[in-house]
C-alpha cells in the first residue's frame, strides 16, 4: 500500500484521507511532518508544545480533509497553514509572551541536524529569497511568521504606523512569491553557509 501511495500527489493523499485511509495521513506526515515540526519549534521554541501543535494540525487534516478544495491551493500549503495557525494560537495564549522581546523571531542555533537533500535545497532557496528582500520587509515577515506577532503588536513595538506594517507585509510577501515562483532562474541554489 505504501509503495503505491509514494506515487500519489499530495492532493490525492488528502482525498484518500477524506475517505478515512490512515495510510494516506501517515504518508502526508512522512512528506511534511519534519517541516511542520521545524516550523512549530521555530514559532514555539519548545519541543513539547511543538509536538502538540503538529499533532493537532494533522488531526485537523484528518477531520477536515473532505473540505479541502484542490482548486484553491496546494495541499502542502494547506497543511503548513494549519500547523502555523495552531502554533501561533498557542504562542499568543502563553502568558510569558507578553514580555517577550522581538528577537524571539530570530533563528535559534541548531547543531548537528541531518536532513535530506531536497529539504536542504528548499531551505536554501527560501532563505536566499528572503535575503533579497529589503530589510524592513524581511523583518516584518519574520517577526509575523516566525515570531507570531500580530500586525498591531508589530506596529506598537517597532514604533511604526499600522499602515506601514501592512504595506511591508504585503510588499514582502508579494516579492517572495515572485522570487519563489521562478525556480532556478533568479535565486541561487548554492549554499552560502
Amino acid at each position: 500500500m505504501n509503495r503505491q501511495l509514494a506515487h500519489l500527489s499530495d492532493e490525492a493523499l488528502v482525498a484518500l484521507a477524506a475517505r478515512s485511509e490512515e495510510s494516506a495521513l501517515a504518508e502526508l506526515y512522512d512528506r511534511f511532518g519534519r517541516t511542520a515540526y521545524g516550523l512549530a519549534i521555530r514559532v514555539l521554541r519548545d519541543p513539547v508544545l511543538a509536538e502538540d501543535a503538529v499533532q493537532e494540525a494533522f488531526l485537523t487534516v484528518w477531520r477536515t480533509a473532505s473540505r479541502f478544495v484542490p482548486e484553491k491551493g496546494k495541499a502542502s500549503t494547506w497543511i503548513l497553514t494549519l500547523v502555523h495557525r495552531r502554533a501561533v494560537d498557542t504562542v499568543r495564549h502563553e502568558q510569558r509572551r507578553r514580555t517577550d522581546s522581538l528577537d524571539r523571531a530570530a533563528e535559534p542555533a541548531v547543531q548537528g541536524v541531518e536532513e535530506d537533500a531536497w529539504l536542504r535545497l528548499q531551505r536554501e532557496r527560501v532563505q536566499e529569497a528572503l535575503r533579497r528582500l529589503p530589510d524592513a520587509q524581511r523583518e516584518a515577515l519574520e517577526l509575523a511568521y516566525y515570531g507570531g506577532f500580530s500586525q498591531s503588536e508589530l506596529a506598537e513595538r517597532l514604533g511604526q504606523p499600522l499602515g506601514t506594517i501592512k504595506s511591508r507585509m504585503f510588499g514582502g510577501l508579494s516579492r517572495l512569491r515572485e522570487l519563489l515562483g521562478e525556480p532556478g532562474t533568479e535565486v541561487s541554489w548554492t549554499s552560502t553557509s
Binding site: 490512515e22 501517515a26 515540526y37 497553514t81 500580530s150 498591531s152 504585503f170
Partner: protein, 201 residues
C-alpha cells in the same frame, strides 16, 4: 478598516482574532481577495521550509496515526448524518410524526462525537428507530432500545449492534421517551445502565 488590505497579514496569521473573523466574512464576498489570498498563502507556506530543526521524535508519527484511527471508529462523517436526515425526511412524508434526539458524547480519546437517533411514528403507534454515530457495540454487549410511556417503566423495544434503522417491538404513544442503553448480549428485561441517548415523542 479596509479589509482588502488585510490579505497579507491574514496569510501570515498576523491578525488578531476579531480582525481575522471580519476578514473571513469579507472573503466570502470578495473574489479578488480570495484570488490574492491563494497566492500570498502559498508564499507564506514557503516560509515554513526556511526553518532548520531536528527530526521530530518517532512517537509523534505514531501518536497521530493512532489518534486518527481511534477517531475513525468513533466519528460518523457529516455526509452520513445528512444522508440519515434525508432518509428520515422521506420516511416522515408518510408518517405522522418524526422526533429526533441528538447527544454529544465524549469518547475515551476526548474527542467529540455525535450520536443521534430519529424516531418515525406511524399509524397505531408503530415506530422505527434510526441510530447514527454509534461505534459497534463492544464484545459481549448489545444496544437495547426502550420505550418509556409517560408514568410507566421502560419497555424493551429491540436489540441492535450499531448504526441501524429498526422497527421498534412495542408501540410508542405520545409523550413517551425512546432511549438506548448498552446491555449484555441477548438483552435484558429492564435497563441496567443510563441511556446514552433519548428522545421524547
Amino acid at each position: 478598516m479596509d479589509l482588502h488590505e488585510l490579505t497579507a497579514a491574514y496569510a501570515l496569521d498576523a491578525l488578531d482574532a476579531d480582525e481575522a473573523e471580519a476578514y473571513e466574512l469579507h472573503l466570502g464576498q470578495c473574489e479578488e481577495c480570495r484570488e490574492e489570498l491563494a497566492g500570498l498563502n502559498e508564499a507564506a507556506g514557503h516560509l515554513a521550509f526556511a526553518t532548520v530543526a531536528p527530526a521530530p521524535p518517532p512517537r509523534l508519527r505514531a501518536a497521530i496515526v493512532e489518534r486518527a484511527a481511534a477517531e475513525r471508529s468513533n466519528v460518523v462523517p457529516l455526509l452520513r448524518r445528512r444522508w440519515v436526515a434525508r432518509g428520515l425526511g422521506v420516511a416522515a412524508a408518510a408518517a405522522a410524526c418524526v422526533v429526533v434526539g441528538l447527544s454529544v458524547a465524549l469518547s475515551q480519546s476526548s474527542h467529540t462525537r455525535y450520536v443521534g437517533i430519529g424516531v418515525v411514528l406511524g399509524a397505531n403507534g408503530q415506530a422505527t428507530l434510526t441510530v447514527y454515530g454509534l461505534a459497534a457495540a463492544p464484545h459481549g454487549k448489545t444496544y437495547e432500545a426502550w420505550v418509556i410511556p409517560a408514568g410507566h417503566s421502560p419497555r424493551p423495544a429491540g436489540l441492535f449492534s450499531g448504526n441501524t434503522t429498526v422497527r421498534l417491538h412495542v408501540a410508542v404513544p405520545k409523550n413517551a421517551v425512546v432511549a438506548v442503553t448498552v446491555e449484555r448480549a441477548g438483552g435484558v428485561r429492564a435497563p441496567t445502565t443510563a441511556p446514552i441517548i433519548s428522545a421524547r415523542t
